[in-house]
């Protein structure tokens, strides 16, 4: 058999395990983080520091019955959670965890991730639509307009990055940032607005993954649980894992594009540990934000995108183009 094929399969298994483990332990991290932010203890009963809690939760979710309510579209209802999970896992294929630790180093890696990321919104839409539940429909409608609004500034920022790096290959992008002064977040020679670009990218990835303060799709005080109101058992579980996988993807991309991926800040010991360190720092920031801020209102969310993020990112694009032309 083709050794490349075996390699890819092995990586895929590894990626699924990584995604699932991440989802499980990010929940743990989120609960512990939230607990400490809220002056509580958090999970502590199952295993040391509650470390086995995610496993127990997982088993619980898997052994629960999947309830299919009356009047739902049976095909779409079942399809939606799968659609939420699969693209998220697929996006991991091109993420370079280190120079060699990458499932498939393809030239259009960045493009592929965004192609899969756009499928995510379809899952929310289908899940909401198929549920035969008004909360879910409202949530789906919100999710779609939110995703459209935030994909634009995100992609404009990414285009800016591609113009600077001149490649869509994630490994090459990382290779261009060997130490902290070369990281694109601080690459002021490319554009003085690089930290702003990073901020835009980060905000957009929060919104894209429906994370607080942009979690309008599942605003529990308004829409109960939004698009997954009717989902039980692993139907809910897949949505949940998909959400966390998407957070990991979003943060990984931010690390790769702006924070030098697996590169050491001082150019000494590059490797997967740097990648994971930066990744989890970003993820912790995401969790931190969630437990600190109230939820935005819908028009506030759209205003932020259309009136601030898109103009600023467009300006940054033009500025960068000018810099590239001049220097």
């Amino acid at each position: 058999m083709d050794s490349e094929l075996i390699r890819v399969i092995a990586f895929l298994v590894g990626i699924i395990a990584f995604a699932a483990l991440n989802a499980a332990y990010l929940v743990w991290l989120e609960r512990k983080g939230a607990a400490h932010i809220q002056r509580r203890i958090g999970p502590k009963e199952v295993g040391p520091f509650g470390l086995l809690q995610p496993m127990v939760d997982g088993i619980k979710l898997m052994t629960k019955q999947i309830l299919i309510p009356d009047g739902v579209d049976p095909v779409l209802f079942r399809l939606a959670p799968i659609l939420a999970m699969v693209p998220a896992i697929m996006s991991f294929v091109t993420i370079p965890f280190s120079e060699t630790l990458v499932a498939r180093n393809i030239n259009v890696g960045l493009l592929m991730i965004f192609a899969f990321a756009s499928v995510n919104v379809l899952a929310l839409l289908l899940g909401g639509w198929a549920s035969n539940n008004k909360y879910a429909v409202i949530s789906a409608a919100r999710a779609v307009s939110q995703n459209i609004a935030y994909e634009i500034p995100m992609l404009i920022t990414v285009i800016t990055m591609v113009m600077i790096t001149g490649t869509l290959n994630l490994n090459e992008i990382v290779a261009q940032q060997p130490n902290i002064s070369q990281w694109y977040i601080f690459r002021f020679s490319a554009s003085p607005l690089m930290p702003v670009a990073f901020l835009i990218f980060f905000i957009c990835s929060l919104a894209e993954t429906n994370r607080a303060p942009f979690d309008l799709g599942e605003a529990e005080s308004e829409l109960v649980a939004g698009f997954h109101t009717e989902y039980s058992s692993m139907g809910f579980g897949l949505f949940f894992m998909g959400e966390y996988a998407n957070i990991v993807i979003g943060c990984s991309l931010a690390v790769v594009l702006f924070l030098g991926g697996w590169q050491d800040p001082f150019g000494l010991y590059p490797g997967v540990w740097w990648f994971l360190l930066k990744l989890y720092l970003l993820i912790f920031t995401v969790i931190w934000i969630r437990w600190t801020f109230p939820r935005t209102q819908f028009y506030g969310l759209l205003n932020l995108s259309w009136k601030i993020l898109i103009p600023v990112s467009m300006f940054n694009l033009l500025l960068t183009a000018g810099f590239l032309k001049v220097f």
């Binding site: 979690d215 529990e220 005080s221 109230p294 028009y299």
Partner: protein
């Protein structure tokens, strides 16, 4: 509401509740929505209606006292106070000064705890989870203090006709002083972390403005009225108990939006602490029960009214007595009932999320509406 709007094919009905995270209890809102815009909102009540007023006719005056604490479970002592004061008025009982001071101290502590719950739960409505835990942390101290003197943590039944049933001790006084110290540290923190938060300001400023006229027409009282520039607080305008002896302000904001109601409640926490401090300083010695309270309460024939300022507004008790040991008629006027009745008028044309932010700013306690 014109029929064209409600019969429009584009609208649909969304049932918020009776089991819904935003209604904090079993309230149901029948919202007719056009997209996310509220075309018509109809609150549906009565899911925990218990007919307290009939119970009042079937029990002796003293036996009804625990019921009052079960109307508004968040500021039960104000309801105790209203009922006890009404019966005392009917009976002509004079309450010893120390007892009145204890009433004021406990009622104001209860008011703070009620506002803290509202603060946390309201932020929860707005999607901010963390303030709830902080607020409950502070509230826990109040519950412990009140438990030590009243014996219960939530549905208090501390007042008796002619006084209170239990005197306080040194530990309580120290505990309250300690609590006020920590609360004075917490309150600025809440303002820093929450009140000045840009997202919160965007969500509350200019959202759900209620005009003075609407307040009056619907008979809304309490922080809801004071957020709309109405300087009406039963403690000041129709003084009862020993409130005239304290120096405190009634916070009034004129904007009428959700933020104004938010700020009124936050400022009231500070004012309540001022009252408690003064009450502790001035606390007279003496008995906590009137010496000459009759053993069997039989108010003379006639009707009597007593209003008190509960955490949610003016709570009124109308007693009609026929001179027997049970009430002939006992009307409980609950503030949230009137406060909620303006919801459908104000929420028209608002976005769903804003309408729920408005609902939260009314600070509803459903058992008190349903009685």
């Amino acid at each position: 509401m014109d029929n064209a709007a409600t019969n429009n094919q584009e609208t649909f009905v969304l049932n918020v509740g009776p089991q819904h995270p935003a209604t904090h209890g079993v309230l149901r809102l029948k919202l007719t929505l056009d997209g996310e815009y509220v075309v018509r909102a109809e609150p549906v009540l009565g899911y925990i209606h218990r007919m307290h007023e009939k119970m009042g006719e079937n029990r002796t005056w003293a036996q009804f006292m625990p019921n009052t604490g079960r109307m508004d479970y968040l500021s039960a002592l104000s309801y105790n106070h209203g009922y006890a004061a009404a019966v005392e008025r009917a009976m002509g009982i004079t309450v010893p000064e120390r007892a009145e001071y204890l009433r004021v101290i406990t009622v104001e502590l209860n008011r703070i705890s009620s506002h803290l719950v509202w603060f946390g739960a309201y932020l929860l409505d707005l999607g901010g989870f963390t303030p709830l835990l902080y607020a409950f942390d502070d509230r826990e101290k109040i519950l412990n203090l009140l438990e030590s003197v009243t014996g219960s943590r939530l549905t208090y039944c501390y007042f008796r006709f002619g006084g209170v049933y239990n005197d306080i001790d040194e530990n309580f006084v120290d505990g309250v002083k300690e609590f006020i110290k920590t609360m004075r540290r917490s309150l600025p923190m809440y303002h820093n972390l929450v009140s000045k938060n840009i997202i919160l300001l965007k969500r509350l400023k200019d959202i759900g403005p209620i005009s003075r006229e609407t307040i009056r027409k619907y008979g809304a009282t309490g922080p809801v009225a004071r957020g709309s520039g109405v300087d009406y607080d039963v403690r000041k305008n129709e003084p009862y108990s020993v409130y005239p002896e304290f120096d405190f302000e009634v916070p009034v904001y004129h904007e009428g939006d959700s933020m104004a109601r938010y700020m009124v409640r936050m400022d009231e926490i500070e004012q309540s602490m001022r009252i408690i401090e003064q009450a502790l300083d001035k606390l007279p010695a003496g008995p906590v029960m009137a010496a000459k309270t009759p053993r069997i309460i039989k108010p003379p024939k006639g009707d009597y009214y007593q209003a008190v300022e509960a955490a949610r507004g003016s709570f009124g008790v109308r007693i009609v007595s026929d001179g027997t040991n049970t009430a002939y008629r006992l009307k409980l006027r609950s503030p949230s009932f009137s406060n909620l009745s303006l919801f459908s008028a104000v929420s028209e044309g608002m976005l769903l999320a804003d309408a729920l932010a408005l609902l939260g700013s009314l600070d509803l306690v459903i058992p008190e509406i349903d009685r």
